[in-house]
């Protein structure tokens, strides 16, 4: 058992993750061809615009479900929203935010961009602390909007009235997942500007602009889009329920910042917060690169239902650093 544990702790998690991501990508993007269907309340950006995906993103359904008059929303039909949230949460519980780091196809795609940049040897970019703090809020705003807009479609707002049907699935319209992921099935139909109505036109222009920025941004900035992802904001609400946990033992931390260096999301707390035990922050995607980069014995741990499955060790750190090319 100890030997096995040692093996696991010495493992190069980045390589494991790379292959796992490819596996997950195939399931999520091509799952339909393999008659795999995981459902439609997945806490990950597995886009419903992909014709034959293996499962779909919860946000699309969420936006649909909130297209209800308020009186119905608080009546039995609201239950539909509730049950879908329950489905979402039950998926989420198992892997917690590791959905982002291991399964999300859009995240995987961004990681591939990072790999490409690394191969070319171009320096990555980082936000400054102050900018980062501001940008972090965007995802909460997006989450708020993607719930409010559908509600305003079904309920009239003073002076404006009901929003037109063109406002449907507002987040999907600007999500690069919609434009980019179907390309992997050879479907480029989402790359158009829709002149059908002004709203649609603005949305599609916005969507294409974001797609353009996504390609350039993801090249320079690791996980460029994830800072704005409302899914990660939504997940963060339920983070306490997750079985999978990232645990930090602050007494062992020397604040050396090695984990912060490794963190693609630039989460400062991982290095500087020595108070909290449960260190998952809203941007965290649970890739566990920080655990792999921690040189302090048992300082960072990955727990599943309270059982440690992966932890930082001196030996593991040393071996991983040595094995780097």
């Amino acid at each position: 058992m100890n030997k096995f544990k040692k093996y696991i702790n010495n493992v190069n998690i980045s390589r494991f993750r790379f292959w796992f991501q490819i596996f997950a990508f195939i399931i999520m993007v091509y799952g339909g061809f393999l008659s795999i269907d995981i459902g439609e309340n997945l806490p990950t950006f597995s886009c419903p615009y992909i014709d034959k995906g293996g499962g779909t993103c919860f946000l699309m359904g969420l936006q649909h479900r909130f297209t209800l008059p308020i009186d119905q929303l608080i009546s039995f039909r609201g239950l539909a929203v509730l049950t879908s949230v329950l489905f979402f949460v039950s998926w989420f519980i198992f892997f917690n935010k590791a959905w982002c780091g291991y399964i999300c196809p859009l995240g995987t795609l961004q990681d591939w961009f990072t790999k490409l940049r690394q191969k070319i040897g171009i320096r990555y970019s980082n936000y400054s602390e102050a900018k980062f703090k501001k940008l972090k809020k965007i995802k909460y705003i997006l989450l708020g909007l993607l719930i409010l807009i559908p509600i305003f479609m079904a309920n009239s707002i003073p002076f404006i009235g009901k929003l037109s049907h063109d406002w449907a699935v507002p987040f999907c319209m600007i999500c690069p997942g919609r434009t980019v992921l179907p390309l992997f099935q050879g479907d480029a139909s989402q790359l158009v500007i829709d002149y059908g109505s002004k709203t649609k036109m603005i949305f599609t222009v916005l969507g294409m602009a974001i797609t353009g920025m996504f390609f350039a941004g993801a090249f320079f900035k690791k996980r460029f889009f994830c800072f704005f992802c409302p899914m990660s904001a939504l997940q963060f609400i339920f983070k306490k329920l997750g079985f999978l946990r990232l645990i930090k033992d602050g007494t062992k931390c020397t604040k050396c910042g090695d984990c912060y260096r490794a963190c693609d999301m630039g989460i400062r707390e991982i290095a500087d917060d020595i108070e909290s035990k449960d260190i998952i922050k809203d941007d965290c995607m649970m890739c566990f690169k920080c655990v792999a980069a921690c040189p302090e014995e048992k300082c960072l741990k990955v727990n599943f239902l309270g059982k440690t499955i992966y932890e930082a060790t001196e030996e593991g750190f040393y071996k991983r650093q040595k094995g780097k090319k």
Partner: protein
């Protein structure tokens, strides 16, 4: 005429320093039983350092460093030899005292003494001095004035924000650029990777050593631990690493055999504050001769020296050099940083890990940073209920009698406390 006098002084100081070093080494070797075989390498190395001089003779460029914050990896990457020139020698301290202000810390005086007495201008290609404390800063200028090639490595005073982190990273980048210019060799991904690996090997062994010291009752004295780290100042990394590996293997055997050099009752101390640098082993020796054991230390000449490892994410210069920079800044607990809460956390952690009974805080008189931080650390430890002995001292031996009284009284008080704790434990059982 002047030259002749100078030569005379040099000879005199050198022989005095060698005498002092020999004396201390003998004390270290002979006053204690059961020195590990593996320590002989380090004993020999340090005695050679003082009888034959500190410089290697293999034609490589030599770069002198002061303070732990100098990133050795860069120096190793350009195929030069880093040598830490911080000195603990009283004769050199005396020599420096001739022209340094009276209230300067002994280490600075000794460094200045060393460089003024010895004609090292041609032997060191560069002296790298981080702007840690005010005295080191001015040392840089004084050394330049003496004709040395110096490099002032600009260190921020804060390390808790990103600005200072980037400032330091830039500082290190500039240093790397300067180093390349100076040596005419390029830092490439492959040679810096090699340098990092080289130093990481040393760090790995050092950590192993560190962990072996956790065993209670201990398998090795603190004075030996200090020597091991001190040897790193002047030794080449590979040979040092393999010597330490031998020592570690030996200590591991001791642990497995349940062999220990002291007994369960021996009070275990944490040594912190100004760095004891061989041959200034006054306080550690006094403590261990009086029946205490320095189980672990938190000083820049020992545990802090090789503890922290850099982690780079992408194997390219744009990531590796900042990673190296970070590893020298962020975990550093030098009192030159504000705020320095990390030092308290570190001490608390060490106290837990090493089963510490008391803390010995040394500060060189004149080292204001350590002198002042003493109060903060003292208060922190008092809250934790760990007794601390604060000793203000320098390289001279004149206060040995008084110090030994204080240290013995401290050890006695801890022994009494330990005894009553044991009694209490027995009573509850």
């Amino acid at each position: 005429m002047e030259k002749e006098r100078f030569e005379k002084v040099r000879k005199h100081v050198r022989s005095e320093a060698a005498l002092e070093a020999g004396d201390v080494l003998n004390k270290i070797k002979d006053n204690f039983p059961d020195n590990p075989e593996g320590m002989n390498y380090f004993y020999d190395l340090l005695s050679r350092q003082f009888s034959e001089g500190i410089l290697p003779k293999n034609g490589k460029k030599v770069i002198g460093t002061m303070c732990v914050q100098v990133p050795d990896e860069l120096i190793l990457a350009v195929d030069a030899i880093p040598i830490r020139v911080c000195s603990g020698s009283f004769p050199y301290d005396n020599a420096g005292a001739e022209f340094m202000p009276a209230k300067t810390c002994s280490m600075i005086k000794a460094i200045m003494g060393l460089f003024s007495v010895e004609n090292y201008q041609k032997k060191f290609d560069m002296l790298v001095i981080p702007t840690t404390c005010d005295q080191k800063k001015k040392t840089t200028e004084m050394l330049t004035d003496m004709g040395y090639e110096t490099y002032s490595l600009s260190l921020p005073s804060r390390k808790d924000n990103d600005n200072s982190r980037h400032y330091w990273q830039n500082s290190v980048k500039e240093f790397a650029a300067d180093l390349m210019k100076k040596t005419g060799k390029k830092i490439t991904t492959s040679n810096i990777k090699k340098a990092i690996d080289l130093k990481n090997n040393a760090r790995y062994e050092f950590r192993r050593f560190f962990n072996l010291r956790k065993k209670s009752p201990s398998v090795i004295y603190g004075k030996d631990a200090f020597l091991v780290a001190n040897a790193y100042f002047v030794d080449e990394v590979e040979s040092w690493t393999s010597a330490l590996k031998n020592l570690n293997d030996e200590l591991e055997k001791r642990v497995n055999k349940n062999f220990s050099i002291v007994n369960q009752k021996t009070p275990r101390f944490l040594f912190t504050g100004s760095p004891p640098i061989f041959p200034n082993m006054k306080i550690p020796l006094l403590v261990e001769e009086a029946g205490g054991l320095i189980a672990v230390d938190e000083v820049c000449s020992s545990s802090r020296l090789l503890y922290d490892m850099p982690a780079y994410d992408e194997g390219a210069l744009y990531d590796m050099i900042p990673a190296i920079a970070d590893c020298y800044l962020k975990p550093c607990t030098c009192p030159c940083f504000v705020p320095n809460e990390e030092r308290k956390d570190k001490l608390a952690n060490l106290i837990d890990l090493f089963n510490i009974d008391g803390v010995i805080y040394q500060s060189f008189s004149g080292c204001q940073l350590y002198e002042m931080e003493q109060k903060l650390i003292g208060n922190f430890l008092m809250e934790k209920g760990i007794p601390m002995l604060y000793i203000e001292s320098d390289y001279s031996k004149e206060d040995t009698g008084q110090l030994s009284t204080r240290i013995e009284a401290f050890i006695e008080s801890i022994k009494i406390k330990k005894k009553s704790d044991l009694k209490g434990k027995r009573a509850t059982k």
